[in-house]
Protein backbone atom coordinates (compact mmCIF):
# COMPACT_ATOMS: atom_id res chain seq x y z
CA UNK A 1 0.00 0.00 0.00
CA UNK A 2 1.15 3.53 -0.73
CA UNK A 3 2.99 4.85 2.34
CA UNK A 4 2.44 8.58 1.60
CA UNK A 5 -0.64 8.67 3.81
CA UNK A 6 1.51 7.52 6.70
CA UNK A 7 3.77 10.53 6.25
CA UNK A 8 0.72 12.79 6.28
CA UNK A 9 -0.55 11.10 9.41
CA UNK A 10 2.58 11.90 11.35
CA UNK A 11 3.10 15.50 10.29
CA UNK A 12 0.07 16.99 11.98
CA UNK A 13 0.46 19.70 14.59
CA UNK A 14 4.05 18.77 15.35
CA UNK A 15 5.98 22.00 15.22
CA UNK A 16 3.60 24.09 17.29
CA UNK A 17 3.29 21.48 20.03
CA UNK A 18 7.07 21.20 20.18
CA UNK A 19 7.53 24.96 20.54
CA UNK A 20 4.92 25.03 23.29
CA UNK A 21 7.12 22.82 25.45
CA UNK A 22 9.40 25.84 26.01
CA UNK A 23 6.83 27.23 28.40
CA UNK A 24 7.35 24.26 30.70
CA UNK A 25 11.11 23.80 30.27
CA UNK A 26 12.34 27.36 30.59
CA UNK A 27 12.46 27.10 34.37
CA UNK A 28 15.01 24.31 33.93
CA UNK A 29 17.09 26.49 31.62
CA UNK A 30 16.03 24.61 28.50
CA UNK A 31 14.53 26.09 25.37
CA UNK A 32 14.18 25.14 21.73
CA UNK A 33 14.49 27.52 18.82
CA UNK A 34 12.32 26.92 15.79
CA UNK A 35 15.40 25.63 14.01
CA UNK A 36 16.02 23.13 16.84
CA UNK A 37 12.42 22.00 16.67
CA UNK A 38 12.63 21.46 12.92
CA UNK A 39 15.83 19.46 13.36
CA UNK A 40 14.19 17.27 16.01
CA UNK A 41 11.19 16.67 13.74
CA UNK A 42 13.47 15.83 10.82
CA UNK A 43 15.34 13.30 12.94
CA UNK A 44 12.05 11.99 14.22
CA UNK A 45 10.97 11.21 10.67
CA UNK A 46 14.20 9.28 10.11
CA UNK A 47 13.80 7.38 13.35
CA UNK A 48 10.22 6.45 12.55
CA UNK A 49 11.18 5.31 9.08
CA UNK A 50 14.05 3.31 10.46
CA UNK A 51 11.81 1.56 12.96
CA UNK A 52 8.91 1.25 10.49
CA UNK A 53 6.50 3.01 12.78
CA UNK A 54 3.85 5.64 12.21
CA UNK A 55 3.00 8.30 14.75
CA UNK A 56 -0.22 10.23 15.17
CA UNK A 57 -1.44 13.16 17.22
CA UNK A 58 1.14 15.25 19.01
CA UNK A 59 3.72 12.49 18.98
CA UNK A 60 6.15 11.38 21.64
CA UNK A 61 8.66 14.26 21.57
CA UNK A 62 6.73 16.62 23.86
CA UNK A 63 6.29 13.75 26.32
CA UNK A 64 10.02 12.98 26.19
CA UNK A 65 10.80 16.63 26.83
CA UNK A 66 8.45 16.93 29.80
CA UNK A 67 9.74 13.64 31.26
CA UNK A 68 13.43 14.50 30.97
CA UNK A 69 13.52 18.29 31.34
CA UNK A 70 14.37 18.16 35.05
CA UNK A 71 17.25 15.75 34.55
CA UNK A 72 20.58 16.45 36.21
CA UNK A 73 22.32 15.36 33.04
CA UNK A 74 20.60 17.56 30.47
CA UNK A 75 21.45 21.21 29.94
CA UNK A 76 20.97 23.68 27.15
CA UNK A 77 24.22 22.57 25.48
CA UNK A 78 23.21 18.95 24.99
CA UNK A 79 19.42 19.41 25.05
CA UNK A 80 18.67 18.96 21.35
CA UNK A 81 21.10 16.06 20.91
CA UNK A 82 19.66 14.32 23.94
CA UNK A 83 16.08 14.68 22.73
CA UNK A 84 17.03 13.32 19.31
CA UNK A 85 18.81 10.31 20.80
CA UNK A 86 16.06 9.67 23.33
CA UNK A 87 13.38 9.57 20.65
CA UNK A 88 15.47 7.12 18.58
CA UNK A 89 15.88 4.86 21.60
CA UNK A 90 12.21 5.19 22.45
CA UNK A 91 10.95 4.02 19.02
CA UNK A 92 13.54 1.24 18.92
CA UNK A 93 12.34 -0.16 22.22
CA UNK A 94 8.66 0.23 21.44
CA UNK A 95 9.37 -2.27 18.69
CA UNK A 96 11.70 -4.41 20.76
CA UNK A 97 9.04 -4.66 23.45
CA UNK A 98 6.48 -5.51 20.77
CA UNK A 99 4.18 -2.65 21.81
CA UNK A 100 3.41 -4.48 25.04
CA UNK A 101 4.37 -1.42 27.10
CA UNK A 102 2.63 1.95 27.05
CA UNK A 103 4.43 5.20 26.23
CA UNK A 104 4.30 6.38 29.84
CA UNK A 105 5.60 3.12 31.28
CA UNK A 106 8.54 3.09 28.88
CA UNK A 107 9.33 6.77 29.48
CA UNK A 108 9.21 6.35 33.26
CA UNK A 109 11.53 3.38 33.03
CA UNK A 110 13.93 5.26 30.75
CA UNK A 111 14.01 8.35 32.95
CA UNK A 112 14.57 6.41 36.15
CA UNK A 113 17.51 4.44 34.73
CA UNK A 114 18.91 7.51 32.98
CA UNK A 115 19.13 9.30 36.31
CA UNK A 116 19.93 6.52 38.77
CA UNK A 117 21.78 3.83 36.87
CA UNK A 118 23.21 5.34 33.68
CA UNK A 119 24.01 8.79 35.09
CA UNK A 120 23.22 10.36 31.74
CA UNK A 121 24.92 7.72 29.57
CA UNK A 122 22.48 7.01 26.75
CA UNK A 123 24.57 4.17 25.33
CA UNK A 124 24.31 2.35 28.64
CA UNK A 125 20.60 3.06 28.80
CA UNK A 126 20.08 1.68 25.31
CA UNK A 127 22.54 -1.19 25.29
CA UNK A 128 22.15 -2.50 28.83
CA UNK A 129 19.16 -1.30 30.85
CA UNK A 130 16.59 -1.30 28.06
CA UNK A 131 18.05 -4.42 26.45
CA UNK A 132 17.57 -6.36 29.71
CA UNK A 133 14.12 -4.90 30.30
CA UNK A 134 13.08 -5.59 26.69
CA UNK A 135 14.25 -9.16 26.92
CA UNK A 136 12.21 -9.66 30.09
CA UNK A 137 9.08 -8.21 28.49
CA UNK A 138 9.44 -10.38 25.42
CA UNK A 139 9.74 -13.36 27.76
CA UNK A 140 6.40 -12.43 29.32
CA UNK A 141 7.35 -10.21 32.26
CA UNK A 142 4.44 -7.95 33.20
CA UNK A 143 5.40 -6.51 36.59
CA UNK A 144 5.78 -3.02 35.13
CA UNK A 145 2.01 -2.78 34.64
CA UNK A 146 1.41 -2.28 38.32
CA UNK A 147 4.35 0.04 38.85
CA UNK A 148 3.92 2.25 35.77
CA UNK A 149 7.50 1.38 34.80
CA UNK A 150 9.03 2.66 38.04
CA UNK A 151 11.34 0.65 40.32
CA UNK A 152 11.58 -2.21 37.84
CA UNK A 153 15.24 -2.41 36.98
CA UNK A 154 16.36 -3.51 40.43
CA UNK A 155 14.49 -6.79 39.94
CA UNK A 156 16.21 -7.49 36.64
CA UNK A 157 19.64 -5.94 37.06
CA UNK A 158 22.56 -8.35 36.82
CA UNK A 159 25.11 -5.95 38.28
CA UNK A 160 25.65 -5.19 41.95
CA UNK A 161 25.15 -1.42 42.26
CA UNK A 162 26.33 1.08 44.80
CA UNK A 163 24.68 0.85 48.18
CA UNK A 164 24.39 4.57 48.90
CA UNK A 165 23.50 4.21 52.56
CA UNK A 166 26.50 2.01 53.18
CA UNK A 167 28.67 4.43 51.25
CA UNK A 168 27.47 7.39 53.29
CA UNK A 169 27.97 5.44 56.51
CA UNK A 170 31.53 4.59 55.51
CA UNK A 171 32.15 8.17 54.50
CA UNK A 172 30.80 9.37 57.83
CA UNK A 173 33.08 6.97 59.70
CA UNK A 174 36.10 8.43 57.94
CA UNK A 175 35.42 11.82 59.50
Amino acid sequence: MDKNWMVLLQEQNQLSSLMETNQGTERFGLALTEEDARLILKERRHALQEQKRVEFGEGIVPKIIYEFCDSDFIDQNNYVDMVIRLQEIFYLYKNEMQDEITDDELLHFMKEQFEQVCFGDLDYLEGTCLAIFGQAIRAGYGGYKGSDGCGEYGRLDEVKRWDYELYLDALGNLW
Partner: protein, 208 residues
Protein backbone atom coordinates in the same frame (compact mmCIF):
# COMPACT_ATOMS: atom_id res chain seq x y z
CA UNK B 1 -17.59 -10.08 0.27
CA UNK B 2 -15.39 -12.33 -1.75
CA UNK B 3 -11.70 -11.78 -1.48
CA UNK B 4 -8.73 -13.66 -2.71
CA UNK B 5 -5.40 -14.54 -1.15
CA UNK B 6 -4.90 -13.52 2.43
CA UNK B 7 -8.12 -11.53 2.60
CA UNK B 8 -6.45 -8.11 2.74
CA UNK B 9 -7.90 -5.31 0.72
CA UNK B 10 -5.44 -4.25 -1.93
CA UNK B 11 -5.27 -0.88 -3.66
CA UNK B 12 -6.75 -2.53 -6.75
CA UNK B 13 -9.67 -3.78 -4.65
CA UNK B 14 -10.17 -0.25 -3.36
CA UNK B 15 -10.14 1.24 -6.84
CA UNK B 16 -12.60 -1.39 -7.95
CA UNK B 17 -14.90 -0.65 -5.03
CA UNK B 18 -14.59 3.09 -5.59
CA UNK B 19 -15.72 2.55 -9.12
CA UNK B 20 -18.63 0.34 -8.12
CA UNK B 21 -19.80 2.62 -5.33
CA UNK B 22 -19.04 5.89 -7.09
CA UNK B 23 -16.86 7.02 -4.18
CA UNK B 24 -14.11 9.54 -4.74
CA UNK B 25 -11.80 10.65 -1.98
CA UNK B 26 -8.12 11.17 -1.36
CA UNK B 27 -6.10 9.19 1.13
CA UNK B 28 -5.41 12.34 3.17
CA UNK B 29 -9.16 12.66 3.79
CA UNK B 30 -8.97 9.39 5.68
CA UNK B 31 -5.98 10.34 7.83
CA UNK B 32 -7.97 11.89 10.71
CA UNK B 33 -10.26 8.85 10.80
CA UNK B 34 -7.32 6.43 10.91
CA UNK B 35 -5.66 8.62 13.56
CA UNK B 36 -8.73 8.44 15.78
CA UNK B 37 -9.04 4.69 15.27
CA UNK B 38 -5.34 4.26 16.12
CA UNK B 39 -5.84 6.19 19.35
CA UNK B 40 -8.77 3.97 20.20
CA UNK B 41 -6.73 0.89 19.32
CA UNK B 42 -3.94 1.88 21.70
CA UNK B 43 -6.46 3.03 24.35
CA UNK B 44 -4.78 6.46 24.16
CA UNK B 45 -1.69 4.92 25.75
CA UNK B 46 0.61 4.98 22.75
CA UNK B 47 1.34 7.69 20.20
CA UNK B 48 2.77 5.39 17.56
CA UNK B 49 2.08 2.05 15.94
CA UNK B 50 3.88 -0.18 13.46
CA UNK B 51 3.41 0.18 9.70
CA UNK B 52 1.70 -3.18 9.70
CA UNK B 53 -0.85 -2.09 12.29
CA UNK B 54 -1.41 1.26 10.55
CA UNK B 55 -2.15 -0.56 7.30
CA UNK B 56 -4.58 -2.83 9.09
CA UNK B 57 -6.42 0.17 10.54
CA UNK B 58 -6.50 1.95 7.18
CA UNK B 59 -8.00 -1.18 5.63
CA UNK B 60 -10.55 -1.27 8.45
CA UNK B 61 -11.58 2.32 7.69
CA UNK B 62 -11.80 1.62 3.95
CA UNK B 63 -13.82 -1.50 4.59
CA UNK B 64 -16.34 0.33 6.76
CA UNK B 65 -16.70 3.25 4.37
CA UNK B 66 -17.37 0.90 1.49
CA UNK B 67 -19.60 -1.25 3.62
CA UNK B 68 -21.71 1.82 4.26
CA UNK B 69 -21.63 2.92 0.64
CA UNK B 70 -22.66 -0.47 -0.69
CA UNK B 71 -25.61 -0.61 1.69
CA UNK B 72 -28.11 -3.41 1.88
CA UNK B 73 -30.32 -4.37 -1.05
CA UNK B 74 -33.24 -1.98 -1.21
CA UNK B 75 -31.80 0.21 1.50
CA UNK B 76 -30.37 3.63 0.80
CA UNK B 77 -26.82 3.88 2.08
CA UNK B 78 -25.70 6.66 4.38
CA UNK B 79 -23.15 7.78 1.79
CA UNK B 80 -25.88 8.32 -0.78
CA UNK B 81 -27.52 10.97 1.37
CA UNK B 82 -24.27 12.83 2.05
CA UNK B 83 -23.61 15.71 -0.30
CA UNK B 84 -19.85 15.38 -0.63
CA UNK B 85 -16.86 13.47 0.61
CA UNK B 86 -15.49 16.02 3.04
CA UNK B 87 -13.70 14.80 6.15
CA UNK B 88 -16.87 15.14 8.19
CA UNK B 89 -19.01 13.12 5.83
CA UNK B 90 -16.37 10.43 5.48
CA UNK B 91 -16.24 10.20 9.27
CA UNK B 92 -20.02 9.74 9.31
CA UNK B 93 -19.78 7.18 6.53
CA UNK B 94 -17.10 5.30 8.47
CA UNK B 95 -19.19 5.30 11.63
CA UNK B 96 -22.28 4.13 9.78
CA UNK B 97 -20.27 1.40 8.06
CA UNK B 98 -18.72 0.29 11.34
CA UNK B 99 -22.20 0.09 12.89
CA UNK B 100 -23.35 -1.97 9.91
CA UNK B 101 -20.39 -4.33 10.30
CA UNK B 102 -21.21 -4.82 13.97
CA UNK B 103 -24.84 -5.51 13.09
CA UNK B 104 -23.75 -8.09 10.52
CA UNK B 105 -21.76 -9.96 13.16
CA UNK B 106 -24.72 -9.88 15.51
CA UNK B 107 -27.07 -11.21 12.86
CA UNK B 108 -24.64 -13.89 11.70
CA UNK B 109 -24.11 -15.08 15.24
CA UNK B 110 -27.85 -15.14 15.89
CA UNK B 111 -28.40 -17.19 12.74
CA UNK B 112 -25.57 -19.54 13.65
CA UNK B 113 -27.15 -20.09 17.07
CA UNK B 114 -30.49 -20.67 15.41
CA UNK B 115 -29.10 -23.30 13.02
CA UNK B 116 -26.92 -25.08 15.54
CA UNK B 117 -29.52 -26.91 17.72
CA UNK B 118 -31.18 -28.55 14.72
CA UNK B 119 -28.02 -29.29 12.83
CA UNK B 120 -27.57 -32.88 11.68
CA UNK B 121 -24.29 -33.73 10.07
CA UNK B 122 -25.11 -37.39 9.27
CA UNK B 123 -21.52 -38.39 9.85
CA UNK B 124 -20.09 -35.80 7.50
CA UNK B 125 -16.94 -34.87 9.37
CA UNK B 126 -16.24 -31.81 7.27
CA UNK B 127 -19.64 -30.27 7.87
CA UNK B 128 -19.34 -31.06 11.56
CA UNK B 129 -15.89 -29.43 11.71
CA UNK B 130 -17.14 -26.30 9.99
CA UNK B 131 -20.00 -25.81 12.41
CA UNK B 132 -18.52 -27.19 15.60
CA UNK B 133 -14.91 -26.08 15.31
CA UNK B 134 -14.15 -23.53 12.62
CA UNK B 135 -17.11 -21.18 12.96
CA UNK B 136 -16.85 -20.83 16.76
CA UNK B 137 -13.13 -20.10 16.43
CA UNK B 138 -13.86 -17.57 13.73
CA UNK B 139 -16.52 -15.79 15.78
CA UNK B 140 -14.16 -15.75 18.75
CA UNK B 141 -11.30 -14.20 16.80
CA UNK B 142 -13.11 -11.84 14.47
CA UNK B 143 -12.26 -8.25 15.37
CA UNK B 144 -15.09 -6.09 14.09
CA UNK B 145 -13.64 -2.85 15.44
CA UNK B 146 -10.04 -2.98 14.28
CA UNK B 147 -9.96 -5.62 11.55
CA UNK B 148 -13.46 -6.01 10.09
CA UNK B 149 -11.86 -6.69 6.71
CA UNK B 150 -10.58 -10.05 7.91
CA UNK B 151 -13.93 -11.68 7.31
CA UNK B 152 -12.62 -14.65 5.42
CA UNK B 153 -13.29 -18.10 6.74
CA UNK B 154 -11.07 -20.58 4.96
CA UNK B 155 -12.47 -24.05 4.63
CA UNK B 156 -10.59 -27.20 3.76
CA UNK B 157 -13.56 -28.84 2.16
CA UNK B 158 -12.98 -29.89 -1.45
CA UNK B 159 -15.71 -28.76 -3.81
CA UNK B 160 -16.12 -30.19 -7.26
CA UNK B 161 -17.98 -27.25 -8.73
CA UNK B 162 -18.97 -23.68 -7.89
CA UNK B 163 -22.20 -23.85 -5.95
CA UNK B 164 -22.56 -20.16 -5.19
CA UNK B 165 -21.86 -18.20 -8.34
CA UNK B 166 -21.82 -14.67 -6.90
CA UNK B 167 -24.88 -15.13 -4.72
CA UNK B 168 -25.55 -11.56 -3.71
CA UNK B 169 -21.86 -10.90 -4.22
CA UNK B 170 -21.16 -12.74 -1.00
CA UNK B 171 -20.21 -16.30 -1.79
CA UNK B 172 -18.33 -17.06 -4.92
CA UNK B 173 -16.81 -20.44 -4.53
CA UNK B 174 -15.61 -22.99 -2.12
CA UNK B 175 -12.58 -24.97 -3.15
CA UNK B 176 -9.75 -26.94 -1.64
CA UNK B 177 -8.34 -23.80 -0.10
CA UNK B 178 -11.28 -21.62 -1.06
CA UNK B 179 -12.75 -18.94 1.10
CA UNK B 180 -16.29 -18.74 2.33
CA UNK B 181 -17.32 -15.31 3.40
CA UNK B 182 -19.50 -15.54 6.46
CA UNK B 183 -22.41 -13.24 7.22
CA UNK B 184 -26.14 -13.43 7.44
CA UNK B 185 -26.61 -14.10 3.76
CA UNK B 186 -23.91 -16.72 3.60
CA UNK B 187 -25.34 -18.55 6.61
CA UNK B 188 -28.72 -18.47 4.94
CA UNK B 189 -26.98 -19.57 1.77
CA UNK B 190 -25.42 -22.43 3.66
CA UNK B 191 -28.80 -23.60 4.87
CA UNK B 192 -30.44 -23.38 1.47
CA UNK B 193 -27.61 -24.08 -0.88
CA UNK B 194 -24.65 -25.73 0.76
CA UNK B 195 -26.45 -28.49 2.59
CA UNK B 196 -27.68 -30.18 -0.63
CA UNK B 197 -24.10 -30.14 -1.82
CA UNK B 198 -22.98 -31.95 1.31
CA UNK B 199 -25.79 -34.43 0.85
CA UNK B 200 -24.79 -35.03 -2.75
CA UNK B 201 -21.23 -35.52 -1.62
CA UNK B 202 -22.21 -38.05 1.02
CA UNK B 203 -24.26 -40.07 -1.49
CA UNK B 204 -21.37 -40.01 -3.95
CA UNK B 205 -18.96 -41.21 -1.28
CA UNK B 206 -21.39 -43.97 -0.23
CA UNK B 207 -21.67 -45.14 -3.82
CA UNK B 208 -17.89 -45.33 -4.14
Amino acid sequence: MIKSGDGKMTMADREDMNHKTNLHYEMEDLIPIVGKLAEKYTSYESTSITYEKAEQLMEAVLYCIHENALGQPGQESAMAVLPDNTGASLQQAYEAGAARAREKVKQALALYNEILPGLACYGNRFLQDIFMKELPVFFGRYDVDFAPQNEILTLDYPVLKDIFPDTGGLIKSMSLSGAWSWNKNSCAGFRKGMWPMFWEDMVRRAEI
